[in-house]
């Protein structure tokens, strides 16, 4: 009598058509292929390594500190200031009959140009310390009369440029911490531009004329510009001590100050209420473009590009390998519903990529940030919710790219073609916009 042979049965539960089993199968396939695990680890590692490289390679040691405004944000506070102290309440009035700007076009070649946000006018400022609170009324090259305070607030006044034929009169009145700006086209009919409350303004403040001239954008960089304004009919009322006007360049060593073009400098000419003032710089929030010693979280995460390449390769391979090794027949025989197989693959791949990307980003950012700070780089502060969004977004981007590669791989069934298509589509636009003579409209379209 032949012994009964019990056929081998897997200890696992029946129900092979369950989606969870399918997910488990795909996860096992992913986990046991050495290449895909290495690829994911490489992706996370690239994000971290590039952040470390960016942090360690920066060399801004000893650069002056970035001025911080009243709201705690980094600011640019560099301009030419013709000032004297005002104790208590008072007012100051002036007319501006010209505002001309020059932009360097060569090493020793300065040409008249338009700097849209060149500013000339009146300012009441806590002190000559950079980042101190202020309120100002000014004429600008292309944006009419403006009243601005504390680096971030801006109110529009009379429109139109200033010239000898269209003189602009400006007035600032201080009453406690309330500062009111008026503008006029003739010196008799005044229009109120606005009243602002500058909190923390001490009884004695520095008040006077200022000229600022922001750097003009040139492709990917900026160039310092210089502007000159003609002030007339300067009149003051209130607690002035009768001293003389002092001319100072504010923030000459500030990292956000591009400096004066060659052979120019800040200066003033005149007396008795008529002054010609030349200045450069800007009074505004500091941004990445004007702060060479600055860095952002995005800069630290440039390694995402490298990680993209790794996850695209893994994503495409996860399906094309099955085609090449004919494993796809086994997979589809085991689970005949093909779309479910693809969905399971996408879920496993997307999840693993997301986790790897998240780990990479959350390790990379604090490390890179610490290294960069140690090297004197100013990292723009962001809310922790933004930090979280950047990390999650990076991970989601990587996961999406991996799934895109998986889909293209399924369409092409050919790993090299799939990888190249997805890579070229993802990375090439960045190479192209880095090209200096791409017009802005095309660059914008490509990055959208």
């Amino acid at each position: 009598m032949t012994p009964t042979v019990t056929p081998y049965r897997s200890g696992r539960r029946a129900g092979r058509h369950g989606f969870l089993q399918l997910l488990h199968a795909e996860w096992t396939k992913f986990r046991t292929v050495r290449g895909s695990v290495i690829g994911m680890a490489a992706a996370a590692l690239m994000v971290v390594l590039v952040a470390l490289l960016a942090g360690a390679s920066s060399d801004q040691k000893g650069s002056p500190p970035v001025p911080i405004g009243p709201g705690g944000e980094p600011v640019t506070d560099s301009f030419y200031f013709l000032h004297q102290p005002l104790a208590g309440n008072g007012s100051i009035t002036v007319s501006v009959s010209a505002l001309r700007s020059s932009i360097p076009t060569g090493p020793a070649d300065l040409r008249p140009g338009i700097v849209p946000w060149a500013k000339a006018g009146l300012i009441i400022k806590q002190s000559t310390r950079q980042g101190s609170p202020y309120a100002a009324i000014m004429v600008t090259s292309s944006h009419g009369v403006r009243m601005q305070d504390n680096y971030v607030n801006d109110t529009a006044g009379l429109p139109g440029p200033v010239s000898a034929a269209s003189v602009r009169w400006l007035r600032l009145d201080r009453s406690g911490d309330a500062i009111t700006g008026h503008a006029s086209a003739d010196g008799t009919h005044w229009t109120k531009v606005g009243t602002v409350h500058v909190s923390g303004l001490e009884p004695t403040a520095q008040v006077g004329l200022f000229v600022a001239s922001p750097p003009s954008a040139e492709g990917m960089g900026t160039r310092g510009s210089v502007s000159t304004a003609v002030f007339e009919d300067l009149r003051i009322q209130g607690g002035w001590d009768g001293g003389s006007w002092a001319g100072d360049q504010m923030g000459p060593e500030s990292p956000s100050f591009a400096g004066y073009p060659k052979n120019t400098s800040g200066s003033y000419l005149g007396s008795d209420g008529s002054f010609t003032v030349t200045g450069a710089g800007d009074i505004a929030p500091a941004v990445r473009e004007t702060l060479p010693t600055g860095g952002t979280f995005g800069d630290l995460l440039t390694g995402t590009f490298a990680a993209l390449i790794a996850v695209i390769v893994v994503g495409a391979l996860s399906i094309t390998t099955e085609y090449r090794k004919n494993l796809i027949h086994v997979t589809l025989a085991a689970s005949p519903r093909r779309s479910r197989v693809l969905v399971a693959k996408a879920i496993v791949l997307g999840f693993v990529t997301f986790v790897a990307g998240l780990a990479g980003a959350f390790v990379a950012v604090p490390l890179g940030e610490r290294l960069a700070r140690a090297n004197g780089v100013y990292i723009f502060p962001v809310a922790s919710s933004t930090e979280l969004r950047v990390g999650l977004g990076t991970a989601a981007l990587l996961a999406t790219a991996a799934i895109l590669a998986l889909s293209v791989g399924t369409m092409f069934r050919h790993s090299a073609g799939a990888v190249t298509t997805v890579l070229a589509a993802t990375v090439l636009p960045y190479i192209l916009i880095a090209n200096p003579f791409m017009p802005a409209s095309v660059s914008d379209w490509l990055t959208r």
Binding site: G35, V50, L53, A54, S57, S58, D59, Q60, G295, D299, T302, F305, A306, I309, A310, I312, V313, A316, L317, T320, R324, A372, N375, V377, S415, A416, G417, A418, V419, T420, L423, A424, V427, L428, Y430, I431, L432, A434, N435, P436, F437, M438, P439, S441, V442
Partner: protein
């Protein structure tokens, strides 16, 4: 190579992609009275930045295709001297890519020649029509063809080292496209310049520059030399590994 359909399509695709990107790029620039700026030869040849990706696939498939289909064993049985088999592949590939590259580069230049004058780049504004009679333009043209050939050889060498096609493509494109992007995060200007000097793409494409030569990280021919060095190193390493490893 002649009998497989893929390479022919890839070559045609490479020519089409190169010319299309060049024509696209030249048709969006405008020359206004405020200034034109830029190097028109380099702009006309920008398609090479895309075409090289297709050249890389072609080169990778020449060798990885044989590994994945097991054909490599047949090849090596027929030609047991592996180095010679590899060299033959390299020479055939170089010849084919050079021929197709010539068509692609000349096509791009021709597109630039026809399109640019319509966008204000006329001789009266100091932009004569692109012509091979012009020394720097000729150098850029010949150099771009050589560059594409070198990229093919570099990819072939890496393919022989890595063997898997997708991974090879990842490595090659990473090497080409990633270094210029990474060089932008390097805060130190010297480090940035160094990375641009050693990157096979940023160095090699210096050959396309015809204006502002002194601002380049390194001179045009030296740049192409760097790319050639990369290609030679990859080929030697690939050839050696092919010899000592089991197929």
């Amino acid at each position: 190579m002649r009998t497989v359909a893929g390479p022919l399509w890839l070559l045609l695709g490479m020519i089409a992609a190169t010319v299309a990107l060049s024509a696209g790029a030249t048709s969006v620039v405008t020359c206004t009275s405020a200034g034109c700026g830029g190097d028109m030869t380099k702009l006309s040849l920008i398609g090479v930045e895309l075409g090289q990706a297709l050249v890389a696939i072609l080169a990778v498939l020449v060798i990885s295709g044989e590994y994945s289909s097991g054909m490599i064993r047949t090849t090596l049985t027929a030609m047991p001297r592996r180095t010679i088999a590899f060299a033959a592949k390299a020479i055939t590939l170089a010849g084919v890519v050079a021929a197709a590259g010539t068509l692609a580069v000349l096509g791009s230049l021709l597109a630039g020649r026809f399109i640019l004058p319509r966008h204000g780049f006329t001789a009266t504004r100091g932009y004569p029509a692109l012509s091979l009679a012009d020394g720097p333009t000729l150098r850029a043209t010949v150099g771009s063809i050589l560059y594409l050939t070198l990229i093919a050889l570099l990819s072939l060498g890496i393919a022989a080292i890595v063997r898997d096609s997708a991974t090879t493509i990842g490595v090659v494109l990473g090497l080409l496209y990633l270094l210029p992007i990474l060089s932008q995060v390097i805060g130190n200007p010297h480090g940035q310049r160094l990375l641009q000097q050693i990157g096979p793409m940023s160095a090699g494409l210096a050959i396309q520059a015809t204006t502002n030569l002194h601002s380049l990280p390194l001179s045009p021919w030296a740049g192409l030399g760097v790319t050639a060095g990369w290609a030679a190193a990859a080929l030697v390493a690939g050839g050696l590994l092919l010899r000592i490893r089991d197929a």
